[in-house]
Every structure is written in C-alpha cells, then in structure tokens.
C-alpha cells in the first residue's frame, strides 16, 4: 500500500489587507492526500490559490483554519524555526523565477541548502559541484548565476533543489519563463527524479500539456479543488508503451 506523506485537511486561508479593511479568502476548504512517489500536478487559472497551497505544504504559510500534515506531523504545531528545519531537510523547492544570492557564484549558490543544514563550506561545494554535473552544468560552476540564460538558471535552480537529496520536490511553475527546449529538459529531469529516484514531485502549472506526466492531477478554481484524478492518462500511455516494447 502506498504511504501517505502529505495530508491536507479542511484548509482555509484568508489574507487581510494592510489597512485591515478587506479580507480575501484564497483557499476555501482544501482536502488533499499525497502519497510517497506521487507526481502531483496542480493546475488552474492564475489566482486560484495553487501557489498558496504549495506554500502551506512547505510551511511558508500558516493556515487560517485546517491542518497540513507532513509524515503525520501537524505542521501547525511547529514554530517558524521548526518549519524552516523541515523545509531544509525534506523539501527541494524550484520557483518559476530563479532567485540568487548575488555575492555567490553558481556552485556556492547550489551549495547554500547544504550550508544551511550545517555542512562545512568545502564539503558543500564538493557536493554542489557533483550535482551540477548531474544537470550538465558543471562547467558553469564558477560563473555568476545572472550571467546565464533563463534555461541554464533554472537547471541550476533544480540542482540547488536536489543538492540536499530531499524526499519531496516542490516546483512552482518551473517552466513558466522557459523556452520549449529548456522546459522539456526541466520536465524530463523532474520525471526522471520521480520515476527512477522515486522522489515525490508536487508541481504547480497552468500548462495543461504536462498533465499526462502526473500520477495525480488536482484542478483548482477560486480557492477550491474542482477535480482530483489519478493519472489515468499516464498509466494508459505507460501501458501502451509497454505493449509497443513487447511488439518490438
């Protein structure tokens, strides 16, 4: 039986404007269950609450109501420092836009998550260099991230997300700013991580072309889940692929 690693139970999130005059309800009673090894694609129009949901999963937001459980631990019971620790040890996060520490070169930026969890400087750089090789960016180690193209930056961002060997990869519109070639590379890598390395991937996108990659799809609209499906299409495609292989 598949192990449930994330459970979201009756999640509500309300944002209050700075002058406290208006309240905006962004999430309205979300219930989700994610199993180990899932490739979850959350999709929906802009402003539907996809990214807010992701931010709750990684502990960057706290619910107005409801609970988020990670490995059966209620994230609501953790303080900010404990949630930060969970984030640094369990999650690898990829954003649509790449963010960098400008004083650090590529390999140092990739090494930051290792330094955060207490690794030494040289050890961190050694491991970061290896992971850069995995995403075919080893030759750019000494460059400054902002000298690189968007696609290259996103690969480095992926390397940074993977350097800590996290069990869950969270990707918020990872291909949103990329050309087709770069986007394909990123998606291939995410698939590889999911299929070969058995990492759980939770990806937010509004690109429906990626739905077939998912083992689970979650459609959101106006702060609610309007559809939650097992990835029948991926299973169907994988089945057909196997049949073709047999025929060959």
């Amino acid at each position: 039986m598949e192990k449930e690693i994330i459970k979201i139970d009756g999640l509500f999130k309300e944002f209050i404007s700075q002058d406290k005059s208006t309240k905006t309800e962004v999430l309205k009673g979300i219930n989700v269950s994610i199993n180990e090894g899932d490739f979850v694609v959350i999709y929906g129009p802009s402003g539907c609450g996809k990214s807010t949901l992701l931010n709750h999963i990684v502990g960057l937001e706290t619910p107005t109501k409801g609970n988020v459980y990670l490995y059966e631990k209620n994230m609501n019971t953790l303080n900010a420092a404990q949630r930060a620790k969970v984030r640094s040890s369990k999650f690898g996060i990829v954003y649509q836009q790449s963010y960098w520490a400008k004083a650090l070169n590529v390999v140092e930026n990739v090494a930051v998550p290792l330094m955060i969890v207490g690794s030494g400087y040289k050890d961190s750089l050694f491991k970061a260099q290896a992971i850069l090789g995995e995403v075919e960016m080893g030759q750019y180690a000494e460059k400054w991230p902002l000298q690189l193209s968007g696609g290259e930056q996103q690969r480095i961002g992926l390397a940074r997300a993977l350097v800590n060997n996290p069990s869950i990869i969270v990707a918020d519109e990872p291909t949103g700013n990329l050309d087709t070639h770069s986007a394909d590379y990123v998606m291939d890598l995410l698939q590889k991580l999911n299929k070969i390395y058995k990492r759980t991937v939770i990806m937010v996108t509004h690109n429906l072309a990626y739905l077939p990659l998912a083992t689970k799809t979650i459609a959101m609209l106006d702060g609610r889940i309007v559809s939650e499906k097992k990835g029948e299409l991926r299973a169907q495609l994988e089945g057909e692929l196997k049949n073709l292989e047999k025929m060959i």
């Binding site: 640094s88 650090l104 955060i116 940074r160």
Partner: protein
C-alpha cells in the same frame, strides 16, 4: 549553520561591493585612528609633564618636612624611630640655611642657599653633578651654575679650588637655646662638583658640616621605602608618630587627574569622527539589507533559521568594525610614530633631548580595538533585526 560558513558568506557579501565596503571601513579607520592619535598625544603630554616632576624611583620616596610640625622637631631620635619602621630602607636628613660664599683674594662674595644633607640624599632628590662629583666627604662642596655666575667664576676652573662659606645657622635647628642666628665664618670648602641649575644660587655640602657647628635638628627628612606599594601604610604609621608627609605621587595623581580630563576631551574629538563613520556603516548595512531582501526571502524559503540570518548581518558589521579597528589603530600608530620621529630629528639637530610627544599604551590599543568592534556590532543590530522580521514570501516578490 557553522560559524565559519557564516563568516565566509559575510566576507563574500562585503567583498562583492568592494568600493562601498572599503569606503565604509575607511570611515571607521579614520575615526579609530583619530582616537588613537589624540589620546596618545594626551598620554605623551602627561608623561612629559610627570617625568619633569619625578622619576620612577621617586615613587618610593617620602618627604617628612618639619614646617608643619608645631611641637615636634626633627632630630636624630626621629630619624631612629622612622628608620625602625617596617619597609623603610633609608632615612636621610636635610637642612637648608642661608650662607655667604666667597674666595679669598678675589673680594667677591655671593648670598647663597646652603643645602646640607647625608650622602644618600642626593640621588633621592635627583641632585647630581653636571661636572665633577657630589660632596660626599667632609670639607667638600658642590656649587651650582647660578652661584658661579654671581661669583664670576669659570666652571671649568672652579673644581679643585677652595672657597670660604659663612654659615647662618638659625635657632630652630640648634639645641643651644640661644635665640639668635649663629654665624660661622669662613669655613673652607673644596669645590668638587658643579650642578647645572642656573636659577638660584645654591651650594651643596655634607650634613656633617652643620652638625659640627651646632645644628642637630633638620628641616626635613627623606625616607626611601622598599616598594611603592608600602607607601600608603608607611604614611599612616608616620602620621601616628606625629609626622606629616609629602609624596610626589600626590602631585602626580593631581596631574594625572587633569590629564584624564584632557584625554577625555581629545577622545571626544575622535569619537565625533567615529560617530560619523558609524552612521556611514549603519547606512551601508541598511542599503545592503534593502538590496538583499529577495536573497533573505530565498534563504528563508530554503530553510535558513532566523538566528543564522541575524548572525550573517551582525557578522558583516562585526567585520567592518574589526577591520576598521585594526587598520585604524595602525593608522593612529603610524601618525604618532611619524610625528615622534620628526620631533626626534628636530631635537637632534637642535642638540636637545629626544621627546616622545605621543605615547600609546597597549591597553589603549586594546580598549579602542574592542570599542571599534562594539561600534561595528551596534550598527549591525538594527539591520539584522529588520532582516529576520522580513516575511519570506513578501521578500521573494520584492522588486
């Protein structure tokens, strides 16, 4: 996070904005350099003044004057009592009377002060012979330049000559119960040395000269203790014997108090420079913070603890303070040394003694260095506090 990693990241953050960091640190360097330079001047001037007043040995010496004593007179019994006190090494008597000095055949004479003392007195009172030697034996005398001038004598020829001294011994230092001044005329004395003072005419003779002529009391005693530390206790014991004491340390303390105030005034000038520099550092760190808001958001999203983010910013300000302090001390020392060297050149050209106008005790360097670090840290506290208050998600959206 490991502290070494935090320091490394902080150094990288400072280095990536080289010119800004250098200019900010330069402000601290100038501020700290000014403090070192000015306070060293204060110390140097104090040392110059106190060295004029005394030497190191003088701190173990007490004067016991008879002037303040109403009933007790200082005689041999007082010398014996004081010599018996613990920690006392030497007690020497001194008398000072009026005299008239002349030479047979020349017809010239001069009114002079006669200082008569035991042989240990001269070094204790920092009296030395500029030419010849001290009057250590009976029948010897040392004359100063002021007296020589009055007599019209040549200092190169006077040594070895015999002069006549009339002694005017007051009743206060005699025990013969006569009220008037006792005059002893034409005591022949061999001049053995010349003392350099040119202000007032003095002739120095052994105390035995006055003892032989009926003076058995003394206007004061000089007492040498074994250590400087035993002086306070010794003063108490002497006061218990009914004696009053004068100590060069009292004068030096008074001078020091004036110079403490002087140094504070000088330090305030330096502090003004440092305050301006500290405001510059604060400004730089605040700008650094505003430029790195997204980076802080990223670090938080990646799971960096607030405590580590705080340390990252405080370490940067610490490093500015530490580097500024280090190079500031070097700058202050260089300026002080340069002026001391320049004065030494002028002094040697003028044939005068070398003086050190700037003196920098290592404690000053230590205190100012620590102060610089403290100022650096203080300027970083608020930006560091602001950094940890930043919301990660807001920071990532920050333009």
């Amino acid at each position: 996070m490991k502290l070494k990693v935090i320091v490394r990241l902080s150094l990288k953050n400072l280095w990536v904005k080289k010119s800004r960091t250098i200019i900010t640190t330069l402000g601290i360097v100038i501020g700290i350099g000014s403090i070192i330079f000015l306070v060293s001047l204060g110390y140097g001037l104090e040392r110059l003044v106190t060295s004029q007043v005394t030497n190191f040995e003088a701190f173990t010496i007490l004067d016991i004057p008879s002037a303040n004593l109403k009933t007790l007179k200082i005689d041999q019994s007082v010398i014996d009592k004081t010599s018996a006190l613990p920690h006392v090494q030497t007690v020497v008597p001194v008398d000072s009377i009026a005299g008239r000095l002349g030479r047979d055949g020349t017809g010239t004479s001069a009114e002079t002060v006669v200082v008569a003392a035991g042989k240990d007195y001269w070094p204790m009172a920092s009296i030395s012979a500029d030419k010849g030697s001290l009057p250590l034996a009976d029948g010897q005398a040392m004359i100063n330049r002021a007296a020589l001038k009055l007599l019209g004598e040549n200092e190169d020829q006077v040594i070895g000559q015999t002069m006549d001294l009339d002694l005017l011994i007051p009743a206060e230092i005699r025990s013969d119960n006569a009220d008037s001044v006792k005059t002893v005329e034409k005591v022949p004395l061999k001049i053995v040395g010349v003392e350099k003072d040119e202000q007032s005419p003095i002739i120095y003779v052994p105390i035995s000269l006055l003892n032989k002529n009926g003076a058995d009391k003394f206007i004061s005693l000089k007492l040498k203790a074994d250590t400087k530390e035993s002086i306070p206790e010794l003063r108490k014991q002497l006061e218990n014997l009914g004696l009053s004491t004068e100590y060069v340390g009292d004068t030096v303390d008074q001078i020091s108090q004036v110079f403490v105030l002087f140094r504070i005034v000088l330090a305030i000038f330096g502090l003004i420079a440092l305050l301006v520099a500290a405001l510059g550092t604060f400004n730089t760190l605040t700008i650094n913070l505003l430029e790195r808001i997204r980076e802080i958001g990223l670090f938080k999203a990646l799971g960096m603890q607030n405590a580590d983010i705080y340390k990252l910013f405080v370490t940067e300000s610490f490093l500015i303070g530490a580097f500024g302090g280090f190079f500031g001390i070097i700058l202050g020392l260089l300026m002080a040394t340069a002026i001391n060297a320049l004065l030494a050149v002028f002094a040697s050209k003028a044939g005068a003694d070398t003086i050190n106008l700037f003196v920098t005790p290592w404690t000053l360097e230590l205190v100012v260095g620590l102060f610089s670090i403290l100022v650096g840290l203080a300027t970083g506290l608020y930006p560091a506090y602001r950094a940890i208050k930043i919301n990660a998600l807001d920071a990532l959206k920050y333009e």
